[in-house]
Structures are given as structure tokens and as C-alpha cells.
Symmetry: C2
Subunit: 454 residues, 2 copies
């Protein structure tokens, strides 16, 4: 019997806006950030659970406050009780009747729950001595079903149907496990396509991506139609006809606008159009899907919970489901989403990038391949090649593939030196006299602190 003795939170921010990495039509100057937590115990094994919410800068402190609000639910609790029934632990956090009011099951509070849930899974996997994907892929179908809250899902997926899906996949698990180790899991890269890059940089990075083995790249679009046509054409010229090019509008358009804009890009053979409009607009995505066919519509990185994913599938709004490791309430809810996708026969190509999202989400895709959908040939995980150096076990991506991690845990653990250097606003990265937006942010912070709360 051991007990959770501390839940530490950290406001970690990287000054990515200085180089316009990550710029798109809605997010011109993100500072990739993490509201990060570490769960410690008195087990004496030195193992901790690490988890995070990914944000793009301002407001990261609000996420940290939301994680703090969950502390009373786990601090002082039995580690074994929490970890042995992760289905119950999920419900404990999600169904706090007072905290529910702040969503319910969406936005700041729900993402904070996701970080705590993922930190618990990290601890559980480390205690089992397994990478998360292998831990999950070793659970029985019934154990997996017990992790999922079917509330609000039963009109689309019952526990019995979920069990059937998992049982159907069970006989092939060992074979797929072996295949995964040999073949890896395909990735695609968004590195060339940020809106802030010149055409020359775009073309150069696109060629490098192909040389690195990627078979798909993705470009940000949506700010200017003429620019988009020029950039997509430049990318197509750079990579040739056999490489897939997806585009991502980051919620920029209304329904009719999306359909008209995409008509201009269609000649360049577009692999999918991602986030054409508000992630909340299920009916809008369905109308866009009809209007841009046969170009597939993709969405998910901002889809708030399983209830929204259920409807996106029911309404045939998306052909590509892009779950995110740090948007919904953690591993459990993403398992629900993987089961929904399997039920509706829709392929899952997770959102990643940011900071830590690649490290975290690969576990879900690998688990899905082995134990849920049994598919990977039509799927790929997003990859962006930055900020991996801050992780204890960074992703291994080469030859255009993610290679299965072998280190125990969920992959989200940052180096201690990163936590110290990038802590906002007192880490050396922010407190030093730094150029660009760092200064702006420090000024803002000062402004914020001036008239203290009453």
C-alpha cells in the first residue's frame, strides 16, 4: 500500500514565437507551452507520474490552476486503489459535481483532467515496467471496456459492441505486435508548411521531408487564397505527384467559404482538408464534407470530448479522425474515441506537434493497431520536428515512421533542466533580457501583477 504524497504543477513555456515555428491562419505567434504536473508517492521505488496540457502560451497559468483544483481528489489517496481501477479514477475526476459546471467535459477543466489521468497512466506504466502502448495492448477486451464511460455514447456504441470490436481484434494481436516492431508506424510531417515560412523555405523543407522518408506533408492554409494556391503549387512541384499533400485551415472559414476556397486547391490533389471551420460545428463539417468531396475532411485536435466525436461520426462529418493526447480527458477518453472510430470504420490520424504531443499520442495509435482497429496501412501520426530534446525519452522518428518506444511510461516526462529553465515567468529563458516576444510577455506579466487582486 502506498499513497500519493505530492502533486506538483509547473507553468512551462517555450519562446517559439521568436522564429514563427507553428504559425498558422488562426495562431500567428504561438509560444508552445505545457501546464505540467508530477505525481509523487511514498512507494520508495522512485517512480513518478508525469502529465501535461499543451497550450500555446497565454493562459497556461489557468490550466495550471485547473490542475491544482483536482489535487484534493488524488493527494493522500492510495496509489493502488487509483491505478488498479482507472475506469473509476476517470469517473472520480470527470464527474466531480461542482467542477463539472465549468465544462461540462470541455475546455480548461477537461484538459486538466486529461493531464492528471495521463500522469496516472504514466505512473501505472512505469510501475508495470512497460511503455504505455504495450501496457494497454496487453489488457483483456473486458479490462479495456471497463476503462470507458459509455454515458452519452449508448446511441452509437454500447459496451457490448465495444467488447465485440476488441474481441474480434484479439487473435491477431501478437502478429501485429511483431509487425509494429519491424515496420514502425507511418508519420507525416507539418514541418514544411507553417504559414510564416517563405516559399523557398517551404520547398526546401518539403524536399527534405521526402528525402527523410515521409510520404505525406501538410501545409497551413486559410489566410490568403492567392498565397495558398501559390504555396500548394510550389509544394506540389517540390515533392512531385506521388507524395500526399494535406492542408489545414485551423478553423478559419465559414461553411460556404470553405467549400469555395477548396475548389481552388482541389487541382493540386489534396489528401485532406483539416479544420475547415469551428471544431464545434458538426453540421457545418458535414455540409463541407459533401461540398468538397472527394477531398476528405479531417478534424479532432480541438474536438472537446467523446460526445462531439460521436456526432462527427454519426453525421459523416469527417473521414479522418485526428484525436489529440492532451485535449480530451486523457487515455481513457481516447480509448472511447478509438472504439467509436472503429465502430464507424473511420481512420484515425492523430494530431501531434506542439510540445510532447508526438511523444504522448504514438502510444494510442500503436495500441489501436494492435488491439482495437487492427489497421495501420491507411493511417499516420502527425510529426513536427521540434522541442523533442526536452523529453527524457524523445520520439524515435526515422525513415518516415514512428518507432515503438521501449522505455516504461507514457512518454511525457521532461528533463528536470527543462522544467527549471523554461518555467514562466521565473525560468532563465524568460527572466533573462531576451529578444522578441519574451520581453512582451514579461511586460504583460508585470502589467498583470501590478494591481493585485482585492
Amino acid at each position: 500500500m502506498s499513497v500519493i504524497t505530492a502533486v506538483q504543477t509547473f507553468d512551462i513555456r517555450f519562446p517559439t514565437s521568436r522564429e514563427l515555428d507553428g504559425s498558422d491562419a488562426m495562431n500567428p505567434d504561438p509560444d508552445y507551452s505545457a501546464a505540467y504536473l508530477i505525481i509523487s508517492t511514498d512507494a520508495g521505488d522512485g517512480l513518478e507520474g508525469h502529465g501535461f496540457v499543451f497550450t500555446i502560451g497565454r493562459g497556461n497559468e489557468v490550466e495550471a490552476a485547473a490542475i491544482d483544483a483536482l489535487r484534493p481528489h488524488i493527494l493522500g489517496r492510495s496509489v493502488e486503489e487509483l491505478l488498479d481501477d482507472m475506469g473509476a479514477s476517470w469517473k472520480l475526476l470527470v464527474h466531480d459535481s461542482q467542477l463539472r459546471w465549468l465544462g461540462p467535459e470541455k475546455g480548461v477543466m477537461h484538459m486538466a483532467i486529461g493531464a492528471v489521468v495521463n500522469a496516472l497512466w504514466d505512473l501505472k506504466a512505469k510501475r508495470a515496467g512497460l511503455p504505455l502502448w504495450e501496457l494497454l495492448a496487453g489488457l483483456s477486451p473486458a479490462e479495456i471496456v471497463a476503462l470507458v464511460d459509455f454515458r452519452y455514447l449508448s446511441d452509437a456504441l454500447t459496451p457490448e459492441e465495444a467488447l465485440e470490436i476488441l474481441q474480434r481484434a484479439e487473435p491477431g494481436r501478437a502478429e501485429r505486435h511483431a509487425r509494429l516492431l519491424v515496420e514502425g508506424y507511418a508519420g507525416y510531417t507539418t514541418t514544411p508548411g507553417w504559414l510564416g515560412y517563405s516559399d523557398q523555405k517551404l520547398a526546401r523543407l518539403a524536399k527534405e521531408a521526402v528525402a527523410d522518408g515521409f510520404t505525406q506533408i501538410k501545409l497551413k492554409v486559410g489566410a490568403s487564397l492567392q498565397d495558398d494556391i501559390r504555396r500548394v503549387r510550389a509544394a506540389r512541384q517540390a515533392v512531385g505527384p506521388d507524395i500526399k499533400i494535406a492542408v489545414d485551415a485551423n478553423q478559419r472559414w465559414d461553411v460556404q467559404e470553405a467549400i469555395e476556397w477548396m475548389a481552388h486547391l482541389a487541382p493540386y490533389d489534396i489528401a485532406w482538408i483539416e479544420e475547415p471551420t469551428s471544431p464545434d460545428d458538426i453540421l457545418g463539417h458535414a455540409a463541407i464534407a459533401r461540398g468538397v468531396a472527394p477531398i476528405p475532411v479531417a478534424s479532432g485536435e480541438h474536438v472537446q470530448n467523446r460526445v462531439m466525436f460521436k456526432q462527427l461520426l454519426q453525421a459523416q462529418s469527417i473521414e479522418v479522425l485526428q484525436l489529440d493526447a492532451a485535449r480530451v480527458a486523457g487515455v481513457n477518453e481516447n480509448i472511447a474515441i478509438l472504439l467509436l472510430a472503429a465502430k464507424f470504420g473511420v481512420r484515425v490520424c492523430p494530431h501531434a506537434g506542439g510540445v510532447g504531443l508526438c511523444e504522448a499520442v504514438q502510444h494510442l495509435s500503436m495500441f489501436d493497431f494492435i488491439a482495437v482497429s487492427g489497421e495501420k496501412d491507411d493511417r499516420m501520426i502527425e510529426f513536427v520536428d521540434h522541442l523533442h530534446e526536452h523529453f527524457v525519452t524523445p520520439v524515435d522518428v526515422h525513415g518516415g515512421c514512428y518507432w515503438p518506444p521501449s522505455a516504461p511510461g507514457a512518454g511525457a516526462e521532461m528533463h528536470r533542466r527543462t522544467l527549471a529553465s523554461y518555467r514562466f515567468p521565473d525560468g532563465v529563458t524568460w527572466s533573462a533580457d531576451s529578444p522578441g516576444s519574451a520581453t512582451d510577455l514579461v511586460r504583460e506579466q508585470a502589467l498583470k501583477e501590478a494591481p493585485a487582486d482585492a
Copy 2:
């Protein structure tokens, strides 16, 4: 020219769980709370802008942190610039590219924006010397349209259509203004129907409600079918056949469950079924609406933004739209929602109760009657008779009606003594050795503070 000199935030909580006021199937023990703010200026007129997010206890501090995160956008800014173009001010807050990541436009961050927007409207109305409803009802149709962000709405409502709706209502404004002062605006009461009350208390309060002039009461349902049948029957016996009885499941059911449960309550002539399932489930509500017809489906108090309301209307999911003053991004977004309701011909019966929600939302209904829908005969505002004593200008509800407030402002200003006494955790209400959940909360707070953040 004056400048915003301070934005103070307060974590205010009332120990309502001690009496089980406000108990329902999903919220057994709420402590009604407000993340409250005061905007001060150097204008020398003594006027302040007050606004709040309503929560039910835990997590109120997260909302306060979210309001703090918005401070840099308004502190030090010109008062006139912000107040003269409230459409632009709304966009400034909602479209902060980094803070958007925390929603987008939903949950903690969006509600905090609503509180700031409403505080700005409070200040604007006070400076105009008018109650908010009268200020809004005096704007031209073009001025009202300029308050609304039509992004993501244009497939259902264009600015031109909104202008037409408002222009159609313009000739009758003066006559309806006069009628409102004479007739008031109908209310209905939820006071009798909390789940924690005995049948005797329910029947007594129901009779009192009728004696007070209300023509509709509402009962919480969803915890136990047999209890619900017994309670609805008792209520029907108490009030007779001519008083409407609505029921509210507070998101308790899945789709099929809702349809089956309501079949058992249908014989008691149900005015509407409110929140039968997840507020996110547009398609689920549509299926329920078909399944329980002719009983109308109502929802809105947890509907996160205008994009969701748009779809609830497009999918014919609701017949009663229950907007809330403190869930979406304030007055501007609620005007968008009123325009959508007018376009689709759906009646608006706002959610209220909690703390301050009655005070705030009456302004929106009265404005709607005069300048938007022109209707009030089929509409009513929820009323719960508690915590009004904490407001400087509490609602005037008598004879079953809300009576138009005449004091300048948006109605949300609490007494200074309330802000002092109920501040959590250091106000006297919480710091004293109090009974019941107060103690629990203080204990939790202590637990929370024990292992300080790293």
C-alpha cells in the same frame, strides 16, 4: 478620455449545500458561487463595471484565474475606446490567438470572457444612466448588428438577415416598451422542485408558487423513475390542471433512456423536458425531440456558444431555448443567440437562479421583446427566490412577473459587505467554525495548500 485603472477579482461562495437548495440529479450539493470582477476607471464619476461567472463551488478559483488572464487586454486601455465599439472589444477578448487554444470559445476561458464583457456593459449602461435593457433597446438595428460576430454563423444567419429581423421589429418598439412597464415579463419558478426536498415541502412550495401568481413551476427529475412519477403526480395534485409543470433532468440520461423515462411522465401534462442529455449532443437532442413529441425539449444553460445554439436550431433539437447570462461570452454573444432564435422562430425562456443570474438575464429578455423577437406571450424567465439580498438592485418579481429594473447598469453588482463576508476561503462565512460543507471545503483547501506548487 479616461483609462481603466484596475480589474479586481473575487472568489465569492455561498454555503448553499448546507440546506440542499439547488440539488438536482447531477448536482447533489452545490455551493452557489461567483468568480466576480470590478472594473475601475480614472473618470472620477465613481462608476464601476461589475460582472461575474456563476459556478457551483469548487473550481471558482480557476474561473477567477481565467478572468485574471484577461486583465492585460483591458487594464490601462481607454474606457471610451472599449465602450464605444463593444463589437470590437468582444473580438479583442474572444480572438486572443493564444487564449483561444483553451477553448476555443467554450468552458472556463469563454465564461471568463463573458464576465469581463458583461462588466464592460455594466459600466457602459451606468455611464449612460440607463438599465442595460433600455440601453440595448435604444440602439439602432445597425448598431445591434455591429455587436455580433457572425463568424461560423453565416450558413444559418447573415448580417443582412439579422438587420432585417431588427428592422422589422423597429416600428413597434415604443408600444412594447410601454407594455413591458405595465405588464411585466412572465416568470416561472423552480423553487418547489429541488430533488433534495420532501414531497410535503414540494407540495407546499408548489401551492405557494401558484398563490404568488406563477403559471408554471419546474421539477428536477432523473435520479429515480418511481420517485419522479410520485413527485410529478404530487405536484400536479397540488397545483391543479391549469398550471404548467416543466421537468429538468440536468443531463442525466442517454438518448433512449430519456425517451423511455419521459413516456412515464407524459400523462401528467409536461410543459417541457429540460436538459435530457449532454448539452453537447445536438443529434441526441434531435432524436429525443422526435421521441418525446409533443413534449417540447428545452436546453441552453450549459450550451457553450453560438455555434452550438446554431446547430440545435438547425437540427430542430429544441423548441425552448434557455440562454444563460453567464455561460457564453456575455451580452454580445447572447444577442447573436437571440437573433438566431428569432430567425428560427424558437421561443427563448432563459435559465436563471443560482446567484445573480435572475438579475442579469432579465435585461436580455426585455431587450428581446422590445427590439428583436417582439414576442413575450409564449415566453418566461426562470426564477428562484434565493440570494437576491446580496445585490444592490435585486430583481423585482411579484405577481408571477419580473418587473423592469430602472437602476442604471446590468444588475450584477453585489453589496460590498457580501464581497467581504463570502470571499473564499478568508471571508467570515468560510473562516468561522461553520457547520456542514463549509468545514469540508476548508479542509479541502488546507489539503490543497499543503504541498505548495514547485
